[in-house]
């Protein structure tokens, strides 16, 4: 059976699409199925603003270098633009545009009042000192000027940007507003250090959201998580937190793959011990309480749940036929390509799609924004409880919509997102 599916796919050589092309295909599929208003489809197929700034920054040797920064704002019909800023040499307008659009869907499905945006600077941070990084970040913030703002467009950390970078953006932005406005503006960025207005629970948010989704799925299916087996690809922030949070349910981690290789132990791998090992050795390779396995054997592991929490396009025409699981819970962004998706459906493997399953991160960013806006500081328990409600709400909407349209959960998730945007456009209309 597995071979037959693989053969079917390999007969027609699959077009290797990049992750954004996969998303676009999903958008089109959902739009067709729900009969999305063609006018609204036109609006959503385009970004609203694309800002490109060229700005100077002083290097340590006193010379000036010019940099190019981007901010693309896709849609803000549900609320202020929201999305990360990334620093790497390959940042370009197409990548930023694609990721901004993705953010719109992610926020809409999570049921938070944000639109989608993304930005970045095209340069290699490893070639710059701490001082240069600060000056580049501050000057970029200054160059963006009124194009970002706490009620307008809220940046967050992404590739090569972290809470320190957010603190510089915050400080630079606050220097540009009147002293009376400063304390009312600290929600200009999220992902801040806790001392500067960050939220409790931000570090585990994405993994926690994934586990809430799995918990709900288990309830729906009358599936006992106690003694359930699971495997994880990626033991970074999302993967390690998901594993640590599944431990109290009595579930057993039987295989892990990260960028250093894959390991397996049918008797179970302790996520806490593995996390300590990974922190020291920078990878799962060589973990003594498990056997090393190759990539293919990892995918063939018999388990109940697979959590891809690493990178894009991992469940494909080549790997999906190997999977021997009941559920795929996507902790990473875009881990399954179109062909992989089709194979999972044919194999009757349940799927919790990325825009639902890894939405915990953006939801807690929203909580951070909300706490800053209200001058509040929530305890971890409160953050967790609110996150649980949001995730379960989104889960139920996706489940009901998929049933209503008799479609897969990924398409169902897109329909939920597109419907909420369509509703706003319908009631508001288009100016003038």
């Amino acid at each position: 059976m597995e071979l037959a599916i693989a053969d079917k796919i390999t007969q027609k050589p699959a077009i290797k699409r990049n992750v954004y092309e996969n998303v676009t295909q999903q958008f089109n599929k959902a739009s067709d199925l729900m009969d999305l208003d063609p006018d609204i489809r036109k609006i959503l197929a385009t970004t609203t603003n694309e800002i490109i700034v060229h700005f100077p920054a002083i290097m340590d040797n006193g010379r000036i270098e010019m940099f190019t920064g981007y901010r693309v704002q896709h849609n803000n019909v549900l609320g202020p633009y929201k999305g990360g800023l990334r620093y790497h040499p390959a940042v370009d307008i197409d990548e930023v545009r694609a990721l901004a659009t993705w953010m719109t869907w992610k926020c809409a499905i999570a049921g938070i009042p944000f639109g989608g945006a993304k930005g970045g600077i095209a340069f290699d941070p490893s070639k710059h000192s701490f001082g240069e990084m600060e000056r580049i970040t501050r000057r970029f913030t200054y160059a963006l000027n009124g194009n970002i703002g706490p009620e307008y467009d809220i940046p967050a950390p992404d590739v090569n940007t972290n809470s320190q970078i957010m603190a510089w953006i915050l400080d630079t932005y606050l220097s540009s507003v009147t002293p009376q406005e400063r304390n009312r503006s600290i929600h200009i960025v999220t992902g801040k250090p806790i001392a500067s207005g960050g939220s409790q629970g931000r570090d585990k948010a994405t993994g926690q959201g994934t586990v809430f989704c799995i918990e709900q799925w288990a309830k729906d299916k009358n599936f006992d998580l106690n003694n359930a087996t699971y495997m994880i690809q990626g033991f970074g922030n999302v993967g390690s937190w998901a594993a640590k949070l599944l431990k109290p349910f009595g579930s057993k981690l039987v295989a892990v793959e990260d960028h250093t290789g894959a390991i397996s132990n049918p008797e179970g791998i302790d996520p806490d011990k593995l996390a300590i090992y990974v922190k020291e050795r920078k990878g799962v390779h060589g973990y003594p309480a498990a056997e090393p396995v190759d990539h293919e054997s990892f995918f063939k592991t018999k388990a109940d749940i697979f959590i891809p929490a690493a990178l894009e396009n991992q469940i494909t025409a080549e790997t999906a036929p190997l999977l021997n699981v009941k559920l795929v819970a996507e902790g990473a962004n875009g881990p399954t390509d179109i062909e992989g998706d089709g194979i999972l459906q044919e194999k009757n493997i349940d799927l919790l799609p990325d825009i639902l399953c890894n939405g915990g991160g953006v939801i807690v960013s929203y909580f951070e924004w909300l706490q800053n806006k209200r001058s509040e500081s929530w305890e971890l328990e409160e953050v967790d409880e609110r996150l649980r409600k949001k995730v379960i709400n989104a889960y139920k909407k996706v489940k009901n919509t998929s049933q209503e349209f008799n479609t897969d959960w990924r398409t169902g998730a897109y329909i939920v997102a597109l419907s909420s945007i369509q509703e706003v456009y319908r009631t508001r209309g288009i100016f003038p």
Binding site: K16, R17, N18, V19, Y20, I58, D60, G62, R86, Y87, H88, P89, A90, D92, E95, A98, L99, D124, P125, S126, F130, G131, M133, E134, R135, V159, N160, N162, S163, Q164, I165, A167, W168, D171, P193, A195, G234, F235, G236, N237, V238, G239, D258, H259, T260, G261, H295, A309, A310, L311, E312, N313, Q314, G331, A332, N333, G334
Partner: protein
Amino acid sequence: MDAVVRKIAPKKEENKNPGICASCKNLNFCTYPRNQSRPIMQCEEFLGFEPRTKQGKKVVSLRLYQAKTRKKEKELSQYKGLCRYCVNCEQCTLPRSEGGVWICDEYMDEE
């Protein structure tokens, strides 16, 4: 004419977008299967720039940063106000108050 033709002739085929892997510290020993035609845009194991984020560490301003490169931190810490950034600081014989000098006609910036 010939020269122009040669100039615009065959360009080396290059991968226009290497994705985020190009700036990832894990690149040299990363075992994830990756495909040139599908540059990675998002990866949870990306390892990149890590500035010093020691809690409470003061962010270094450009001015102070430049000053620090000229003088040892230890020496700097004994001066307050303008003297800290003044190129004459080490040779200066003017009496300087403990609270720091804030107005000085002798102050000199680098270059």
